[in-house]
């Protein structure tokens, strides 16, 4: 009896891909830019998206026709590993590329693909997501913003909030109630809209770090043409859920991010090793390593035809807790200087949002308990 076993060895093509990415990044990466949630930073990040696109690195998994490389999932993770290892900037196009594009590919018309996909690969069109409403939060099914059918399109009314990137983005996407008589998950439609349209008011909201990472958006009879309905009228929930799964799953936080943070933490430790923090430093490294390996397991599973469903919640619980403990440990190592403004503090403040956004961790634990462990839903 001899069994083969899994391996993390890559094919020659994959190794070539990795080296190409590494070389290109070494030559082009501008490093940390001003926060993309400032006017100056947003411009710099748009420039970086253009540079990425010029090297055909902005959307590696997309078809070549739309600026991609037809990369496999494995190659995507390789690219992300290299990207974070290089310390390249955060992606201002994330909402568009990761949340919206999969839906346009899956549910959009050919005309929508032509109109929107290329422009989001090079920073020309930056998208804001507009899921939440003041009374909805994690409970998306209780949305109340409306869409009323008019000649040639729809009028949007109501309010969205926690709209990430909205202060400096061009367009937005979100769900609106197109059938006022329907309740909960029914009667919702997925719309694309222009943030500079008549009737749209964007009110930026400062985050803990002082930058306006999100905004409220007010809609007052905002006209949207029929061609900006994504998927069928009334199918919004189904369409959006494929995004939600996506947001919580593989594509949101690539392992490279945490491995790079663990490496930085280790460097910090080495500048001033404090024995009482040893276990926290080692555990942060183990956590990042576990996330990397778990991801390769998931990639293997998906490439073999499997899917990632409620497991996305397990994933999210892990990386959000890991991110927080990585950065709390970094602050512990900094000691009395931990309160001072600087990259460590910025990263820590960002990590605080992890357990809240994309479905709070309480909701994620409910999902794991009910959908994966099969515990009863009542109560």
């Amino acid at each position: 009896m001899t069994f083969d076993q899994g391996t993390l060895e890559f094919t020659e093509a994959e190794e070539t891909f990795r080296l190409e990415a590494r070389d290109w990044l070494a030559a082009n990466n501008p490093g940390r830019l001003p926060s993309m949630d400032t006017a100056e930073g947003a411009a710099a990040h748009r420039d970086w998206e253009r540079t990425l696109a010029s090297g055909r690195w902005s959307v590696v998994t997309w078809p070549e026709a739309y600026g991609g490389r037809d990369a496999s999932l494995t190659e995507w993770v390789i690219f992300e590993e290299e990207y974070y290892l290089a310390g390249a900037p955060t992606r201002i196009s994330q909402n568009g590329i990761s949340l919206l594009a999969p839906i346009i590919f899956g549910h959009g018309t050919e005309e929508q693909k032509e109109r929107y996909l290329r422009d989001m690969t090079d920073g020309t069109l930056v998208w804001a997501q507009a899921w939440s409403e003041p009374e909805a939060g994690s409970d998306l099914a209780s949305l109340r913003a409306t869409a009323t059918q008019v000649e040639g399109g729809w009028k949007l009314n109501g309010q969205k909030t926690w709209s990430s990137r909205a202060p400096f983005a061009d367009r937005g996407f979100g769900l609106f109630r197109s059938d006022p008589s329907a309740e909960r998950h029914r009667g919702l439609t997925y719309f694309l809209f222009d943030l500079s349209a008549d009737g749209v008011t964007v009110r930026p909201i400062d985050q803990l770090d002082g930058t306006p990472g999100f905004a409220e958006i007010f809609f007052d009879d905002v006209f949207v043409p029929d061609e900006d309905v994504l998927g069928g009228v009334g199918d919004g929930w189904k369409v959006a859920m494929s995004t939600a799964g996506n947001e919580r799953g593989l594509s949101l936080r690539s392992p490279g991010r945490f491995c790079a943070a663990a490496d930085r933490l280790l460097d910090l430790w080495q500048t001033d090793p404090q024995p009482h923090l040893r276990d926290q430093v080692v555990d942060a490294w183990i956590g990042a390593e576990a996330y990397r390996l778990y991801t390769w397991g998931a990639v293997t599973h998906v490439e073999a035809g499997g899917s990632v469903g409620a497991e996305g919640s397990i994933n999210k619980l892990w990386w959000s807790d890991l991110d927080l403990s990585l950065h709390e440990t970094a602050l512990d190592l900094l000691g009395a200087d931990a309160e001072l403004e600087g990259p460590c503090l910025d990263d820590y403040l960002f990590s605080l949002s992890g357990p809240i956004y994309a479905g709070t961790n309480q909701i994620q634990r409910n999902i794991v308990a009910e959908r994966i462990l099969g515990l009863p839903r009542l109560g």
Partner: protein, 328 residues
Amino acid sequence: MRFGRTPEQTAFADALDDLLGAADTPGAARSWADGDPALGLSLWQRLAELGVAGLLVPEEYDGLGASPVDVTVAFERLGYHGVPGPWVESVAVLPALLTQADEAKVLAGIASGQAVATLAAPRLTPRALDADVADHAFALTTTSALYRAEPGDRHGSVDATRRLFDLTPTEQIATVDAGRSLDLGTLACSAQLLGAGSRLLHASVAYAKQRHQFGKPIGAQQAVKHLLADVRVALDFAAPLVHNAAVDLEAEAPTAARSVSAAKVAAGDAAYLASRTALQVHGAIGYTREFDLSLWILKVRALVGAWGTPAEHRARILESLVSGEGAR
């Protein structure tokens, strides 16, 4: 044996709550952070009239000559209401140092609330808080050399109301024994943390009762209940450590330094747990600057490492225990 506050101390706390509850302390904190200290200084003056500023100033300099327990009563309320300014430095630390230095005028100014003072000291508070607003700045260069000092570069803090400055010592004014004064500063900071932690808990409980999701208040969810219960437990057990540290300092007990360190570690841990839980219970709104909660979340993060990191205090506790100081 009677281990707890007196009715007078409870009344003092109530009086501070009346004053501060009616004042717009978040507004004062926000403008203080933006470099406009007018509201904060007017609050300073009114708190001084209630006796807060002169608590530890000796009676011969028009102060109250009060006790460390009284200091914890006051600072807990300052923390609860998020009052900005160098209170720890002016009220808890400097009076005893300036008394040793015979700085009668500054002491009288502190007691009356006319003078705001700040301080830098190695390790515990290497940068002086709000030196741009303070009328007097001092620097300890060791635990015994007290200098007048001039503010230099400013450093931003996670808590925008904490405006931190390098100090340049200019003129030595006394040789002092600073140990007890610095412990009083740590104690006051611990009490502030306790107050800030309670504020975060109260805000979270109120929000959990009022905010509905999936058709019921989020506070009806058992997970939310348990998170908040744990915060209450942590705060309730940090409080007696803070009280005990004050009692020990008052009695000049051999265990005083250790008790102060235990208070700081426990109050910091409890307040940090309160802040993490507050953020989790509030969700995205807690992550915004415009919602007042953020003022306390960011202040707690700063105070956890101020006046000695938890690591330094734990080391001091262990050293004291191993050396058998003041065994039970």
